[in-house]
């Protein structure tokens, strides 16, 4: 049976076929659907972890205990999980342990485009790179076998175009989930307790393991293979770049690598000797190119291919002077209006960012839907670095700006899921080290940007079961924050007053703005806004950047089909021409 699967769905299928006991993840584009699909299938125990480090550690525990475990995350998540990853390379596993790193060349939904093959090399673990959904499924099974045979965690490195592209996968129609038997566990302190004396010996083992992995890469034809074609051009490639090469340079000889680290040196030498000109086609960094150069070969790589962004068939064809027959319709001359993603109509984040923007505060931001508060017209964010950075950076900015002559007020802004991910430790630091910053927790009750996954603050697990619901206010108080306020962000005057009070306080404070995500809670907040006067077109309401308000012939027009009746426009209309009957509001106290 052939079925169209995305790379992420295929990875989930591979995990099922490999008899995985446990899978964990923190949501992050482009990796999120891996765990969602596994959870939907219902065979494998699943967890959304508070962050990637915890996800990896639980998976690592399962593997040490003898079960097979898969852990999935986006590329920057591997930075968070790097500590246990690097150590588990030394300890090795027992049951198989596969880490899926979903990299995002071109940064469709990310803050950088790091190439995680570097991290695998630094951790001295093997890397498998599938080039379509069929391979994504098959490589998961192979990764588990390699993990157990060679006693190592394995990285399955995929990219957005693998994760979110669909291609046919051959499935065994009557395949049932058969959990791989749990391997016997016994205490092995010299292996799993990484004291210096133990770890020194383990490092020797790791180096031997890398040589064995390289030998595996020489002979495993299902992973690494040569297609001999025209021998004037020889191309070494991997992952999605392989597909672009097949499309753009179909006649070339190709060395397709599925196991890209460690490099199969003899296979590369054999290939290089068989062709006139050697090329390396890979996305992002010259990873394979560097390894091949270390063999004394001189391939053409990043001197002709771009270092940044994604590759595509056109970029590959251009290097070889090949015409792919493009004769496209002419682009229009006039500038077209852009259509970036926006905060939804009725989103509570809009109220918070409009208020912050109006108050002229320095805002250290964080990662989530609310990063959209950066875009015009809200323009309300000073920084966005990584998950959780808003909290520590607010304190740091305050240290610097509080010392500056033109003292400016700083507020950190973070979402509920991001706060749990890695904002909590920043807040502990703020209390411990005598900071006095104000942190705004925008609690929309979900991990919204990645598609509404549950987290410890929702009280529901990845498999849909009810569980303890983390109480943000109680947590902040337990950390030592005495000033914890909860306020309704839709009441912007109130929010501004609360912000002013807390910014004036000479101690840390947390303001929790609770406003459920409009894409989850679709019940309207009120009746659609109505224009009660002839709109003079002052444009103030347009500064909300609300998709329900459109400017037509110099006047604001409300689209009742889009408006959720949140009432923000009525609050700021200087002519009081907008009227909203609020029918529903969360009971919150300031």
């Amino acid at each position: 049976m052939r079925k169209l699967l995305s790379g992420n769905e295929a990875i989930a299928q591979g995990a099922r076929e490999a008899g995985v006991l446990f899978a964990s993840a923190y949501p992050g584009t482009p990796s999120t659907e891996i765990l969602e699909t596994i959870a939907r299938q219902g065979d494998i125990r699943v967890q959304w972890a508070p962050n990637e480090k915890v996800a990896y550690e639980v998976a690592c525990g399962v593997a040490l205990g003898g079960g097979r475990a898969l852990v999935a995350m986006k590329h920057v998540g591997v930075n968070v999980a790097a500590d246990p990853l690097f150590s588990s390379s030394y300890s090795g596993v027992n049951g198989g342990l596969v880490l899926v790193s979903a990299d995002d060349p071109a940064m469709h939904s990310s803050q950088n485009e790091q190439d995680n093959r570097h991290l695998a090399r630094a951790a001295k673990i093997p890397v498998l790179e599938p080039s379509d959904s069929q391979e994504a499924k098959d490589f998961v099974r192979m990764a588990f076998d390699i993990s157990e045979e060679l006693d190592t965690p394995v990285m399955l490195r995929v990219t957005t175009r693998i994760c979110h592209s669909m291609s046919p996968v051959v499935l065994d129609a009557d395949a049932v989930y058969r959990r791989k038997p749990i391997r016997p566990y016994r205490r092995r302190m010299s292996k799993n307790v990484l004291l210096p004396a133990h770890a020194r010996r383990r490092h020797e083992v790791v180096e031997v393991r890398l040589r064995r992995l390289a030998q595996l890469g020489e002979s495993a034809r299902e992973l690494n293979r040569i297609h001999w074609g025209d021998r004037t051009i020889g191309i070494v490639t991997s992952g999605i770049a392989y597909q672009y090469v097949r499309e753009a340079v179909p006649h070339a000889s190709i060395l397709k690598l599925g196991l890209t680290y460690p490099l199969p040196a003899d296979l590369v030498r054999e290939f290089a000797a068989g062709v006139d000109e050697l090329y390396v086609v890979e996305e992002l960094d010259p990873f394979l190119e560097g390894e091949i150069r270390a063999l004394g070969l001189r391939p053409a790589g990043k001197e002709v291919f771009p270092l940044t962004g994604e590759l595509d068939p056109d970029k590959v064809a251009a290097v070889f002077g090949i015409d792919l027959g493009g004769d496209g319709a002419e682009a229009v001359d006039e500038q077209l209006p852009v259509r970036p993603p926006v905060l939804c109509a009725g989103c509570g984040h809009r109220a918070a960012f409009y208020t912050l923007s109006k108050m002229g505060l320095v805002v250290t931001g964080d990662i989530g839907c609310y990063t959209l508060g950066t875009l015009p017209p809200l323009l309300a964010m000073d920084s966005c670095m990584c998950m959780g950075a808003s909290v520590g950076m607010a304190q740091g900015m305050e240290i610097a700006l509080g010392t500056a002559a033109d003292e400016r007020r700083v507020v950190g802004v973070i979402g509920d899921s991001t706060f749990i991910h890695s904002g909590i430790t920043g807040l502990i630091n703020m209390v411990y080290n005598g900071g006095a910053s104000t942190l705004l927790i925008l609690d929309n009750g979900t991990t919204a940007m990645t598609g509404h996954q549950d987290h410890p603050g929702t009280g529901v697990t990845a498999s849909g079961e009810k569980t303890h619901r983390l109480d943000f206010a109680a947590l902040c108080r337990a950390i030592g924050v005495r000033r914890v306020r909860e306020t309704d962000p839709y009441d912007m005057d109130r929010l501004e007053a609360v912000l002013n009070e807390e910014l004036a306080a000479d101690e840390p404070s947390v303001i929790i703005c609770r406003a459920p995500c409009r894409l989850v809670e679709r019940v309207p907040l009120g009746h659609p806004a109505e224009m009660e006067i002839d709109c003079p077109g002052c444009g103030v309401c347009l500064e909300l950047g609300c998709p329900a308000i459109e400017e037509l012939d110099g006047r604001s027009v409300i689209d009742p089909a889009v408006c959720t009746g949140c009432g923000l426009c009525a609050q700021i209309c200087p002519f009081c021409g907008l009227k909203v009957d609020t029918i529903r509001r969360d009971p919150v106290t300031a």
């Binding site: 097949r246 068939p313 004769d327 319709a329 209006p337 939804c344």
Partner: protein, 193 residues
């Protein structure tokens, strides 16, 4: 091999449409690749998807200027995507105008003459009032399936039986009838255009 570029606005069914096309092509016996970028697809941004099918397909991405068809669920997004389409390709546009969310007071105006701009640049252009057609059938959300029907008359390699089977499988029982009507309405529109 046939390459189809699909575009529209987040939340309006571009990815559902490309999914139906890809499944139909698979059922018709072809190798298929579908690509999409959906990080923020529910937040009203531009959304694009690409579907390629044939005896053997490698790249999920369509080389520039080689798409055989461009299906746009929105007028402005059709203009934006034009350079992906061969001059002698087929352009199918849902005649719906969706203004981008206001980005403050100084904004680039929505182009007025989308029809002429398209017709000047592409040989075969069909504007389909898919939005109205779907609304008349009972739910404007079925505009994407009207467009599938409109495209089907340009894709004889996929039989009507395969389309019908794919649409039946793509929707819950309570939505099947409406979407089959939407498909037939789109098919009729381009067959008689």
């Amino acid at each position: 091999m046939k390459s189809v570029f699909l575009t529209g606005v987040g939340g309006h069914g571009v990815l559902k449409l490309s999914g139906i096309l890809a499944e139909a092509a698979l059922t018709a016996g072809f190798d298929v690749r579908k690509s999409e970028i959906h990080g923020m697809s529910q937040r009203g941004g531009s959304v694009v998807s690409q579907v390629r099918y044939g005896n053997r397909v490698h790249s999920p991405l369509i080389p520039a200027g080689t798409a055989d068809a461009l299906i746009s669920l929105e007028l402005l997004e059709a203009l934006r995507a034009l350079p992906c389409l061969r001059r002698d390709g087929i352009l199918l546009v849902n005649e719906q105008h969706i203004s981008p969310a206001p980005l403050g007071r100084h904004r680039v105006p929505y182009p007025e003459n989308v029809r002429e701009l398209c017709e000047d640049r592409v040989e075969t252009v069909v504007f389909v009032p898919a939005h109205e057609m779907a609304r008349d059938l009972g739910n404007e959300k079925a505009a994407n399936v009207v467009m599938a029907g409109a495209f089907s008359t340009f894709a004889p390699e996929i039989s009507v039986e395969v389309w019908v089977h794919t649409i039946e499988a793509a929707f819950r029982p309570e939505h099947r009838e409406l979407n089959l009507h939407a498909f037939r309405a789109g098919q009729y529109f381009t067959a008689t255009d």
